[in-house]
Point group: C2
């Protein structure tokens, strides 16, 4: 299995971290990405520039490979289905990507499978959102192509209706929640399933992006077991091969609800590179190459802070405060090979470890306050 | 400092692991190696094929870079000296490489600096070895170009004289030793020094190659402090910038003697990738980029087994037993991107962690017995 020719659709930061993990095993990785400046460009053993959404480009990229995987869901699924029908190992399976690509299908799937999720109503356009004023406050979510904070709007009342998307979507009940949690699950073709410890995500107040996370989440043992079980059941319901990141809401009543999932490595698992025996990236390779899954044991408490481009700066990226940061023990910055910073662009992340939880939190506060991605030109 | 253009002379496995660590910080790495199939070839952002020993090749490689380092000592030092004189940051410094390249100069240096090392006699050729029969048994070491077990011969008595090298070398008293230890030291241009925990190396009975190692070494606190101090003093005596791997003998009397040193990442530090907060590779980048050195704290006991090409096999490499091995928790194989295996060629290594020392040793025994690099063609 280690000698398979492997393709990744997408060459962003998740692809970069998959590549880095692949070095250990001499994996023959080919990357497809439309951006000639994609993070993977200079590191990938083989890089092809091309559209992820064009049938021919994706098909031609995959046809001489053995295993094809993704680091982004927005890909041409028809091409992947053809590759799969011709005997290629495509993981996650095209059918799973298809279900998850569309948040409407995703939500209906949870209901069908009896998996807990917030109440919702499917909507076809902006006008149809207006027919459900009694369901507000709610989030209006675009069915397809939402990503990194785009494609979600909070509709508190009729006055917000102009913010609703005029495309197929869904209205999801705004559940009050105490915490947002995530569990990354891996499943291999033999049906072996392994979960990473539950993490707790703190979102940026405006951006609908993870600002930082703590692992493990500070939750009761009972809640943790609930989150772990739901995540495992979700991966098993999809019968996914590969990673499934399951984002969850914890309500004040102690209910755990599925928010959404991603069928790939996820922002909520970057810290596993340092903090866990097996990283999510290595686990992904194990899963899709049908190898035994690795131990997900954590070496200790950790946190992860996303390094976003500072508002007001656009141009060649500079990392303010980095040298001083490197003098702090158990702080691990990872930069994403993006030459240009833009406001709120994900430019890197910083994993932090500390056996002392309050010291860990102090380091998080230091990092969020002092490390900035700016541009001087 | 993170934006420096950096060159590595040598693109073997040490270069590969340096590259892997450099991904975290988006370091712009250029690699020079004579072998078009060098391990770094497919991963390096920029790879130049060329001789490491040719003045013009090394000079031209370095002249457009900011920082030049090495992963092998056998390089053209004159070219590095010229680059240094033109203001390039060359670390380790050419003067240090020059001292270490020649084991004769190295040994004289220890004596001059009052650093403990086994007694020795400089020899000019085979005949001059014969003039010191009363010094036997001893090891005859080639002054220059010894590597990975080549360039050392045990001369027990007059009968072995034909094994002596007919080139400048040194005769080193065969000291009986209980253990062979190693300490990797890092020093940055600001003079900050940090040592990794002492490891204990077990050599292959015939090959004069590390077969496996344990970290930390099972030695008394007193011996450990002695080893750590000698390693630190050695790095400070050389005033090296970068890593210095110090190999040591522990004698039955509890004496710690310097065997030899390497001014670069070293086989005795591979396990630090998983087992320590900062790996030797990241520490090397920190040292030569004048960044604060990282914590060398170990997460727990570990071992490292070298994966050598099995005797009797030469051809496309296959890794026997790998899938089963991957089912064992906290076992981390690393393969060196070498397509062809040859008897005793270093093809990879396996790091093993376990808080339980006897379980750790059992895993080492399992790996050395069951994992084989063979070829079927």
């Amino acid at each position: 299995m280690l000698s398979s020719r492997i393709g990744i659709l997408g060459g962003g930061q998740l692809g970069l971290m998959l590549l880095q993990a692949a070095i250990d095993w001499n994996l023959d990785i080919h990357v497809l990405d439309p951006d000639p400046e994609a993070p993977c460009r200079r590191i990938a053993p083989k890089f092809t520039q091309g559209s992820l959404q064009d049938f021919d480009t994706v098909y031609n990229f995959g046809k001489d490979l053995d295993v094809i995987t993704i680091e982004i869901e927005k890909v041409n699924v028809e091409a992947l289905e053809k590759l799969e029908s011709e005997g290629k190992r495509v993981y996650p399976q095209p059918a799973v990507i298809r279900q998850i690509q569309d948040k409407r299908i995703q939500k209906v799937f949870y209901t069908d499978k009896g998996l807990p999720t917030a109440d919702f109503i499917l909507t076809e356009n902006r006008a149809s959102v207006g027919e459900h004023l009694d369901f507000l406050p709610a989030f209006h979510k675009l069915g397809r192509d939402g990503y990194d904070g785009r494609g979600v709007q909070r509709i508190a009342s009729e006055a917000d209706l102009d913010k609703a998307f005029d495309q197929p979507g869904l209205l999801e009940k705004a559940v009050p929640f105490e915490k947002e949690l995530a569990v990354i699950v891996a499943r291999n073709p033999s049906g072996e399933v392994m979960t990473f410890p539950t993490v707790e995500m703190v979102f940026h107040p405006e951006l609908n992006l993870v600002e930082y996370l703590f692992a493990p989440a500070e939750i009761s043992e009972e809640t943790d077991q609930k989150a772990q079980l739901i995540a495992r059941q979700t991966a098993e319901a999809f019968e996914i091969v590969g990673l499934l990141a399951v984002e969850l809401f914890l309500t004040p009543e102690g209910e755990v609800l599925i928010n959404e999932v991603a069928p790939r490595p996820h922002n909520s698992g970057h810290h596993t590179i340092q903090a866990n025996v097996t990283s999510q990236y290595q686990q992904h390779w194990r899963a899709i190459l049908d190898l035994p899954l690795g131990s997900t044991k954590a070496y200790g408490p950790s946190a992860m802070v996303n390094l976003l481009g500072e508002a007001g700066f656009e141009g060649p990226a500079e990392y303010e405060g980095m040298e001083k940061l490197l003098a702090t023990p158990e702080v691990f910055p990872f930069l994403y090979w993006k030459a240009i910073t833009k406001p709120f662009r994900k430019m890197g992340h910083i994993t932090i470890m500390d056996d002392n939880i309050s010291a860990l939190k102090e380091k998080v506060a230091y990092v969020t306050k002092n490390i900035k991605v700016i541009s001087k030109s």
